[in-house]
């Protein structure tokens, strides 16, 4: 069977199963298993599923994912978000749109500990949304700030999505985290610039300001130093080569547990709740990872992806146009599908094409995460907006999506900037290498 037809058939069946609400992991296992059985026979296909189950569930490389999820869950349970918000407010509160700027800065800080966008949006939604509403900030503007700020969780290292991408393409996770640092910082600063511009343009959006006190601001900064130190230890430890990403995740999780117990912000009930949440997420994600392994083995044995990559390499179209097409495709996918699902479904097919085009897989990983991040705030299925709706029932969905337009424009500008200047993502990994 011609390669393209085989790929199209496999993808069509996969999409049909997904639309029929078959779990993402199971859909990939079914298509991968049937495809492999057609190529190589039933017993080898069963052996592939068995290997995939044990490869995913017992290969130490995958430990990094549940450990970073545990770190995020402990950060959520220990109420770090409140301290970060108070500290940010003490520094930015006096500016025009100060509370909104503080919320965004706290989102960035929490993202640096948490690693998940949806968890960042849910957590900061509980802390910052009521505070902004109390001070008279409009609901749509407040919601848009937290929804956009939440997306930082997927980019600012450590990021669970980026770690998964690294495992799937066998790239160095430490290099990926290093590459995400500057784009993550740019994202935070860009969002803060948008808030400032919106507040100046329409002062009704940011009605009140608090007074600045240096001593209070310094006190608040001191109160969050253990969290900052832990973040520096985790991310700095990876960059400096002290720890592997898995060890850094364990250091972060145990460090947060220790801090929470010392400051009495964590009790047995909260710890159990964080462990239960992590266990459930681990189970859900690993079914997808097993699916990704089975599906990628099928793609390898059928030589579909290598043939596709070869076909792309002889095309006369400039590589940059193929890259733009791929990014537009991801933009569309990200608006409809879960971030992890998008990555495991598409990366086995797209990664060989990117490599064949001569692009860096590290740089592409960052572009991919930025595009997926956009999907979290883009209608119709902007996940972060719906998560915030769960936190605050009266949040006007359409209003929030409208207020998100400048943030989305800033994201697109940042994406274009990193496409045009790969150095922004690659400078730090090259320096550290």
């Amino acid at each position: 069977m011609p390669v393209m037809i085989e790929l199209l058939m496999a993808m069509s069946i996969l999409i049909a199963l997904l639309l029929l609400r078959v779990p993402v992991g199971l859909s990939m296992i079914l298509v991968g298993f049937c495809g492999f059985a057609l190529e190589a026979g039933l017993w080898p296909a069963l052996a592939v599923v068995q290997q995939a189950i044990f490869h995913a569930a017992t290969d130490e490389v995958f430990s990094v994912i549940p450990l970073f999820i545990l770190m995020g869950a402990l950060a959520f349970s220990s109420g770090i978000s409140d301290d970060l918000f108070d500290a940010s407010n003490a520094w930015f509160g006096q500016m025009r749109g100060g509370l909104a700027l503080s919320s965004m800065a706290a989102c960035g800080g929490f993202a640096a500990i948490c690693g998940s966008s949806v968890a960042s949006a849910a957590t900061m939604g509980k802390v910052a949304l009521p505070a902004m509403r109390e001070r008279g900030y409009p609901a749509d503007f407040s919601g848009a700030i937290i929804a956009a700020g939440g997306t930082l969780g997927v980019l600012i290292p450590p990021s669970v999505v980026l770690a998964l991408y690294g495992i799937l393409v066998e790239a160095d996770i430490a290099q990926l985290f290093a590459a995400a640092f500057l784009p993550g910082l740019l994202a935070l600063l860009g969002y803060m610039a948008v808030i400032y511009w919106m507040s100046i343009r329409d002062p009704r959006l940011a009605p009140s300001q608090s007074r600045f006190s240096l001593s209070a601001a310094l006190r608040k900064l001191v109160s969050i130093w253990p969290t900052l130190a832990l973040f520096l230890l985790v991310v700095g430890g990876i960059y400096a080569g002290w720890f592997t990403p898995t060890e850094a995740a364990a250091v972060g999780a145990i460090g947060l547990l220790g801090l929470g117990l010392i400051t009495r912000k964590l009790n047995s009930e909260r710890i159990n709740s964080a462990l239960a949440e992590t266990a459930l997420t681990t189970g859900k994600i690993f079914l997808i990872i097993i699916g990704a392994v089975v599906f990628s083995r099928y793609l390898a044995v059928s030589e579909v992806t290598s043939n596709l990559a070869n076909a792309v390499s002889v095309m006369t179209v400039a590589p940059i146009f193929i890259l733009i097409f791929i990014l537009l495709f991801y933009l569309l996918m990200g608006a409809f599908l879960d971030a992890l699902a998008v990555i495991v479904l598409t990366v086995p097919v797209v990664h060989p094409i990117i490599v064949e085009l001569g692009y860096s897989e590290i740089w592409f990983g960052i572009l991919l995460v930025i595009v997926i991040e956009l999907g979290l705030i883009t209608p119709p299925y902007g996940m972060n907006v719906f998560v915030l709706r769960g936190v605050s029932d009266d949040l006007p969905l359409i209003g929030v999506f409208k207020r998100l337009i400048p943030f989305i424009a800033m994201d697109l500008f940042r994406l274009a900037l990193i496409v045009a200047i790969p150095w922004l993502a690659l400078a730090l990994p090259e320096m550290l290498a």
């Binding site: 639309l19 078959v22 779990p23 199971l26 569930a57 549940p66 364990a250 239960a276 992590t278 409809f336």
Partner: protein
């Protein structure tokens, strides 16, 4: 087996994994003494948390799914989609249980051991067996309940 038991087994296995990896890194730096069998034990603990986590997700019928079409379906179509999902999940989890059992039996036959303490691996993997068989039972129970409830 209650949901809270599943949560505890999977969660505490993960906490132990974090402690083991953290302790191993710390001891390596401070005393230049790696904990023996860290790699084998961390693999087992990851396996425990993953298999029990999958059982937990199955017990809650909580999976990562695409709701694009689901939101627009009527009650009859939803029942059909649900039935299809349950049949596919049951078939997969039955296979899943058999494959895991076979793998552990293979470890027993080959007599593979941990590197340092020479502990037979099949003994360490015994606690994953109930977790591997549980999802099929849970899906079958859920199907039975649906049939009973109409």
């Amino acid at each position: 087996m209650s949901e809270s038991t599943l949560q505890k087994i999977a969660g505490y296995a993960l906490l132990l994994l974090a402690l083991l990896v953290f302790g191993s890194a710390l001891l390596r730096y401070v005393f230049n003494w790696p904990i023996p069998d860290t790699l084998d034990f961390s693999r087992v603990l990851l396996g425990l948390s993953v298999f029990w986590g999958i059982a937990l997700a199955a017990s809650r019928s909580d999976q990562i799914q695409v709701d694009l079409l689901w939101d627009h379906l009527g009650p009859q179509a939803r029942r059909l989609v649900l039935l299809l999902n349950q049949v596919l999940l049951l078939a997969f989890f039955l296979l899943f249980g058999v494959l895991v059992l076979e793998h552990v039996y293979h470890l027993y036959l080959t007599g593979k051991q941990t590197v340092d303490y020479r502990v037979p691996l099949w003994i360490l993997y015994l606690p994953v067996l109930p977790a591997a068989c549980l999802p099929a039972v849970l899906v079958a129970r859920s199907m039975f309940k649906h049939r009973q409830g109409g």
